[in-house]
């Protein structure tokens, strides 16, 4: 028996451990889909519609098919023999949507034919050689005009282009009928209000712009009747399920792999036509095939986000007490419903309770088809839109009442002792403690000092404003009742011979840093070095089950599954350790993991090394009665609810009087995502989120012209935020753990995008308030700001 001689291992949970995945990513040593090259691999190119709306009258593929190196040219109609309409993941009615258009095209970029060729260059030339003729139809571009009786319609059976209509209100939802029992309370609240603000606001369409575009390699092996699909996806297990269904295969015949994925932001949740086409054509041509999206295709065909028009009314008493909300929301969902399209805008209304005690709500949602790229999740997915509408409206009430924007929020907060808190929309907020978060933000920002700074700047003739927002969002999706694919997550933990640990997670990361945070958790759990742990993900051949990464669920759901599997593996290790120490009458319950050893608590001299025990587990002589050899355990975790992180953002902007250019001078973010495993990674997630939220407020917008032609289909016209546009962020946090999972962690992937957008617009409105303005539409284009300054007209812009 030796005394532990290894160094004491520091606890890693809560430490700023650097991301283990970064060295390979920044040194070009990572494998993305485009790095995969298989023998005999052919390449796909898509012929895409260059008009927004029209009936295909003729496709001539003969010139393309005759080109050297072209294996196959196939039209949508021909492909429909191999692939049916694509499945969606929501319960809403949806029109048929084929991977490649069969009769009509409905947005610029929609595929009409596919080429399979020896290389990418030939494929592209052949695609250009395909001739397509259309009977053009009027383009449906404005979602409000789309609902007029005289509008052209995209889909048969969807009158006035309406995809989804929903309504709820009153003093709560009747979950059975989704109807209010009595809606009169809403009208009463508005009739009795001292102040009502009403504002039409656009939460504009955005392009997600992941650094790595989409891509897929599919290999169907006829001999094995087995399909392998590599794809830049956020959720390989969902990909496997859906591709199998489309191909008429069982899930046991499909392996889906998400190798390194260079960002998703929601746009890689959807399973796209190109993925199904690659699988089907690999089977058809009996060779592996590859398709890599180019940036133009990414702008035209990867799902867009947001595009919600809100008519928002908020009622309050003269003391600032908010008494009622009416929201009429029109979602421009583009040409088709893809995986989660129709569900995203429903999250907007669900979260519009915000952090407030909101006595009555009326919510109307209409989702409308237009001749644009389909929408789906984009970082925040529905919540940024809702919180933007709400936090703008609350700010407007404060301005109307001449109240401090912090104080009006404080006055209406759900108090800490009312959690779990049931909202008007039927959600139950797990935990929350809003006031300390607000106070901390005011303190970090030096709110009073900031106001004084603004006033001093104004006295010098500068145009400066400050803004504040307070958000709550929904994370950790979860539970299965609300996620059509299932809302659980899966993990496996194997202690290898020699005492190293391999773990798998179904929460497939694409930039989140799970390889680091998950390893930190296991290092602490087993008290072994971080380097002794490998986290595997993104391969259904390796990770037995899983759902994926979206809705800030990796840590809260995936992490919880991991810790549950680790618990099982740990128990077994302790049983083996106890069996090795029977002579000392040790029972597993007495044992703890400590610095690479399994020891009797408080008695390090009674111990075995972790490695010794692992070796014994694989050669268990004698095998302890009732035990199986080895240590490889797995667990599913099903959360009983979502988690609801929250936070307060504060910003200061300055507008150039001559040009209207807005400069963000400061941004302070105090976020509460519950317990934090790795503050460095949490800060990184917040930074990225802030950049994208600020991007929406100040720069980004997908624009179509009246013919449905995209105007912003390249980085020469679509404005992305750059590092130089952003100030040094000042971050802090409060910690309100969730009771929903054993980690107390809530999720932080989307927080930055949700709080920052209204915060920056509120500051811009504050800056231009002296010119009589009460709302400014996003993005804060210089010309838009310049007009307000020069025309000085209040209200709209």
């Amino acid at each position: 028996m030796t005394i532990a001689d290894g160094p004491a291992l520091p606890k890693l949970i809560g430490e700023r451990v650097k991301r283990r995945e970064d060295p390979r990513l920044i040194q070009g040593q990572a494998t993305y889909v485009d790095d995969i090259k298989l023998p005999g691999m052919l390449h796909l190119a898509f012929k895409r519609s260059d008009i927004a709306h029209g009936v295909i009258t003729r496709i001539d593929t003969s010139a393309a098919a005759a080109m050297d190196g072209v294996e196959l040219v196939i039209t949508g109609t021909e492909l429909a023999d191999h692939l049916g309409p694509m499945p969606i993941g929501t319960p809403f009615p949806a029109p048929d949507h084929f991977s490649v258009a069969t009769d009509k095209v409905r947005y610029v970029g929609e595929p009409v034919a596919v080429v399979v060729a020896e290389d990418r260059y030939i494929a592209r030339d052949a695609a250009d050689a395909i001739e397509v003729e259309y009977d053009e139809l009027p383009a449906v571009v404005d979602p409000e005009a789309a609902m007029e009786a005289d509008s052209a319609t995209l889909h048969e059976g969807f009158e006035r282009n309406i995809a989804v209509e929903s309504y709820w209100g009153g003093t709560g939802v009747n979950p059975e009928t989704a109807q209010p029992e009595d809606d009169s309370a809403v009208d009463a609240a508005f009739a009795e209000a001292d102040v009502v603000v009403s504002q039409r606001m656009l939460n504009q369409r955005l392009a997600p712009n992941a650094m790595e575009p989409r891509g897929v390699v599919a290999q169907y092996e006829p001999g094995r009747e087995y399909l392998t699909v590599w794809s830049a996806t956020q959720n390989p297990h969902i990909l496997r399920t859906l591709v199998a269904a489309m191909m008429g295969l069982g899930e046991h015949q499909v392996r889906a792999v998400a190798p390194e994925v260079g960002g998703g932001f929601g746009c890689k949740i959807n399973i796209y036509g190109e993925e199904y086409v690659a699988a089907a054509l690999s089977r058809l041509v009996k060779a592996p095939v590859k398709w890599i999206e180019d940036r133009t295709e990414a702008f035209l065909t990867t799902t867009h986000g947001r595009d919600l028009l809100g008519y928002i009314d908020l009622a309050a008493k003269s003391d600032g007490t908010i008494t009622g909300l009416k929201a009429r929301i029109i979602a421009d969902i583009g040409a088709y419903e893809v995986l989660l399209t129709a569900m995203i805008p429903t999250l907007t209304g669900l979260m519009m309770n915000g952090v407030y005690r909101l006595p009555v709500v009326r919510h109307e949602l209409t989702e409308v088809f237009t001749n644009k790229t389909p929408t789906d999740a984009y970082r925040g997915a529905g919540r940024p839109e809702g919180l933007y509408f709400l936090e703008r409206a609350v700010d407007m009430v404060a301005r109307e009442l001449d109240m401090d924007p912090a104080e009006i929020r404080r006055k209406n907060f759900v108090p800490a002792d009312e959690f779990p808190f049931a909202t008007q929309s039927g959600l139950v907020y797990d935990s929350g403690n809003y006031e300390p978060c607000l106070d901390k933000a005011l303190e970090v920002a030096d709110w009073q000092g900031l106001l004084a700074e603004r006033d001093a700047a104004r006295a010098e003739g500068r145009i400066v404003g400050v803004g504040l927002s307070f958000y709550v969002e929904v994370c950790g999706l979860g539970p299965s009742a609300v996620v059509p694919t299932g809302g659980w997550e899966h993990s496996g933990v194997t202690v290898e011979r020699g005492g190293k640990v391999t773990a798998t997670t179904g929460a497939s990361p694409h930039g989140q840093g799970n390889e680091t945070t998950f390893a930190q958790m296991l290092a602490d759990h087993f008290s072994i070095p971080l380097e002794d742990i490998t986290i595997l993900h993104g391969d259904t051949g390796v990770v037995k089950q899983g759902i994926g990464t979206f809705g800030s669920r990796s840590q809260a759901v995936g992490g919880a599954a991991l810790i549950s599997a680790a618990g099982k593996a740990g128990d077994k290790m302790k049983q083996f350790a106890a069996a090795m120490m029977t002579d000392q009458e040790v029972s597993p319950e007495d044992l703890v993991f400590e610095d690479g050893r399994i020891q009797v608590e408080g008695a390090p001299e009674v111990s075995k090394t972790f490695a010794e025990v692992a070796d014994y587990a694989y050669v268990p002589v004698p095998l302890p009665p009732g035990m199986e050899p080895g240590v490889s355990e797995e667990a599913f975790f099903e959360p009983e609810n979502n988690t609801y992180p929250f936070g307060c953002h504060i910003s200061m902007v300055e507008v150039d009087r001559d040009t209207g250019e807005t400069k963000l001078l400061k941004l302070i973010a105090v976020d509460d995502c519950g317990n934090v495993i790795n503050p460095l990674i949490v800060d990184g997630q917040v930074h990225g989120g802030l950049a994208q939220g600020i991007g929406q407020a100040m720069f980004e917008e997908v624009v179509y012209d009246e013919d449905g032609q995209p105007v912003t289909a390249s980085f020469m016209d679509y404005v992305m935020p750059r590092a130089a546009d952003l100030p040094v962020f000042e971050l802090d946090r409060t910690v309100t753990p969730t009771p929903i999972n054993p980690l107390g962690a809530k999720g932080v992937g989307e927080a930055g995008t949700i709080g920052s957008t209204p915060c920056v617009v509120n500051a811009a409105v504050d800056a231009l308030a002296p010119f009589g303005v009460t709302h400014i539409e996003m993005p804060l284009r210089p010309e838009r700001m310049w007009r307000i300054i020069n025309e000085g007209e209040g209200g709209q812009s």
Binding site: Y121, D128, D294, D658, V703, M720, P782, E783
Partner: protein
Amino acid sequence: MIPTAFEYRRAGSVAEALSLLQEGGPEAKLLAGGHSLIPMMKQRLAEPGLLIDIGGLDELRGIQEDGGEIAIGAAVTHAEIAASDLLRDQAPIVAETAANIGDAQVRNRGTIGGSLAHADPGADLPAVMVALDATIALLGPNGERKVQAEDFFQDILTVDLAEDEIVTGVCFQACRSAAYAKLEQRASKFALVGVAAALSLDGGTCSSARVAVTGASSHAQRLSGVEGALAGASLPDGAGDAASGAGDALDFVNEDLHGSEEYRRAMTAVFARRAIEAAAGRG
């Protein structure tokens, strides 16, 4: 993002480039830094059959000064211009303008010759060259030709350059009291409006001036109204007045998502004022 097939030849000398150009005819295109041409090829907006690479030719490189005249070879990159002590000292407007073109990759590859020959309506250097009254040197099968910058830029993407000619360089008189000010188009960083002002100063008084705008219109051009108003003006106080009508005098003004005609006209006055003030500050 995939260009049509093309042939690529690296010219060993300017003479070889000229003969390749003649052989290639309308199919041939010179390739310098490639930062205007290749993006267009990737979008299949340009489909040249032959690219003649002149980027590495020593004959087209170098920045020299001789008796107050500065010459820059056509293949000098924006980054080299930005880093040139000679230019920073004797024509700081040129170095500063180059330092604010695009991003580091663009500056490392893009060349002054390419920028002038391409004549993007939002390119920065054309306005600077017009303000400095630069001479652009061209070489063709019939020998050398010199064109003043203000005559070289004719219309959108259109310059006084024959298909078989090469821009070999530019030259201009050293000038310290000149500055360029631009409103960036936020996505591309090209000039939504950019104004270059080169002043002759006599104490605080402007004796003569050359002022040119880019971005606002189809091509870089002089703002003669502003130049006239500057003669005799006391600076910097008189800059605003002199610049006030700058935008209104333009015949044609671009309009797009990033700025309406009205906005661009107004910004022309704003950036003319800023450029004049900055130039006067150097005087």
